[in-house]
């Protein structure tokens, strides 16, 4: 029951504020409270090289680049330091199976932290 209800509640709250796309693995806290899934290329690790001179999106010329906005917010908004530190972490590929599910449940169950068995990061040890 809760599993069916929560996605509706989550979407109702997050859609108007962040234009949430219900990827089911929310990373808002680490991306300057800006949803990377609203990037037309759904880039989760920073901006592409096509950002316009005025800071707007290559694909949607009258929209500010999602990552330009994220970076501005990361720098200027008051946020827990740990959130800011997470900004440059390497976020893994999206698990398409979670599309439409509640990221709140996936957070609590740690389902959103599951990555493919081969995924690893060097974590700076390069």
């Amino acid at each position: 029951m809760l599993k069916k209800l929560l996605p509706f509640v989550e979407h109702a709250i997050k859609k108007p504020v962040w234009d949430c796309r219900m990827c089911g693995q929310c990373v808002l806290h680490s991306t300057g409270m800006t949803c990377p899934m609203t990037c037309p290329k759904t880039l989760r690790n920073g901006p592409c090289g096509g950002v316009r001179e005025n800071g707007n999106c290559e694909v949607i010329p009258d929209m500010q680049c999602v990552w330009a906005k994220a970076y501005d917010r990361k720098v200027s908004l008051p946020m827990p330091t740990v959130w800011k530190e997470h900004f440059n972490e390497l976020r893994p590929p999206v698990d398409m199976r979670l599309q439409g599910s509640s990221s709140w449940i996936n957070l609590l169950t740690k389902r959103d932290q599951q990555t493919p068995a081969g995924w690893s990061t060097t974590d700076g040890d390069h």
Partner: protein, 298 residues
């Protein structure tokens, strides 16, 4: 070992790479012609992957064709057209044919191409792709399935030093380095001050990351205007375009500008070479390379 890896990791030599013209019709005869023009000057050439969102002969097949003609390919893989399975297949296909240099890019949007109605893929992004290439070299696919022996890639990526958000570009270069990129080819840049700031920033936070800025050979102000108007992420100051358009000999002025930009780029920290691209029929390549103190090989 690839020449790129050998030179960048074991020497202090400056490397020169070039954009290999996209392959459409004309078969191997055409490849041979392009190869003959570039071979005397370059350590490696980019085998592009549907550049500017236009379909051409595939990245892997082009890279193989270049290799057959004695050139060392840097095989690009963009995230726009392929999902993670296809991208890993591209990487393993490269390894199968002895292609070591692979470069991972986001890719221009489909709206930049001639088939804007195309479905975008972007299943993974360029930094994830770099990390997946590195994972393959440790002997597993993303799934964890073993690869024995593991492929041996010399991984690179691309960054735009002159597009907003400027400060973040430096952090993003570090992120790509940490994911596994050993060098970055940089997007065309007509803002020397921005390039300088980017290179200095990278040298400071990622001292082992090598940078290869891109220089374009142009013959007049027209291609400058085209790049400024049409190529995503490239801004050319009006003064720069006017400098060329107002000259009595546009080709000569464009050449001087290009040479200035190239020499400036080579003087910057972290820069280990140049990537050269032209509009195919440019005849100034030889003199440009001579003017940079290079001599043809063989």
């Amino acid at each position: 070992m690839s020449v790129m890896r050998e030179k960048l990791e074991n020497t202090n030599e400056t490397v020169f790479t070039a954009e290999f013209p996209s392959i459409d019709g004309g078969g191997m005869a055409k490849v041979e012609k392009s190869a003959a023009r570039l071979a005397p000057w370059f350590d490696a050439v980019n085998a592009t992957d549907n550049p500017a969102a236009h379909a051409h002969a595939s990245n892997t097949s082009s890279a193989i064709a270049m290799k057959m003609h004695g050139l060392e390919p840097i095989m690009q893989i963009v995230c726009r057209d392929k999902n993670r399975l296809a991208i890993q297949a591209d990487m393993m296909g490269a390894a199968l044919h002895g292609i070591e240099n692979i470069s991972l890019l986001t890719g221009d949007d489909v709206t930049a191409g001639d088939e804007p109605e195309t479905r975008r893929v972007f299943d993974i992004d360029s930094t994830q792709a770099i990390n997946i290439a590195r994972i393959l070299t440790t002997g597993t696919y993303l799934s964890g399935r073993k690869i024995n022996p593991a492929p041996d890639f010399y991984i690179s990526a691309v960054e735009n030093p002159a597009a907003p958000p400027f400060d973040y570009r430096i952090e993003r270069a570090l992120k790509k380095y940490r994911a596994g990129a050993k060098y970055l080819q940089l997007q065309i840049c007509y803002h020397p001050d921005r390039l300088e700031k980017f290179c200095a920033g990278v040298a400071k936070i990622a001292p082992d990351l090598k940078l290869i800025p891109t220089i374009v050979l142009v013959k007049s102000a027209k291609p400058l205007g085209f790049m400024n108007d049409k190529v995503p992420g490239i801004d050319i100051p009006l003064d720069t375009i006017n400098r060329v358009s107002a000259a009595s000999d546009q080709a000569d002025e464009a050449y001087k500008l290009t040479l200035e930009l190239a020499k400036h780029a080579l003087s910057l920290p972290a820069v280990r070479g140049l990537h050269v691209t032209d509009f195919r029929h440019d005849d100034s390549l030889d003199s440009f390379m001579y003017d940079l103190g290079q001599k043809p090989r063989n």
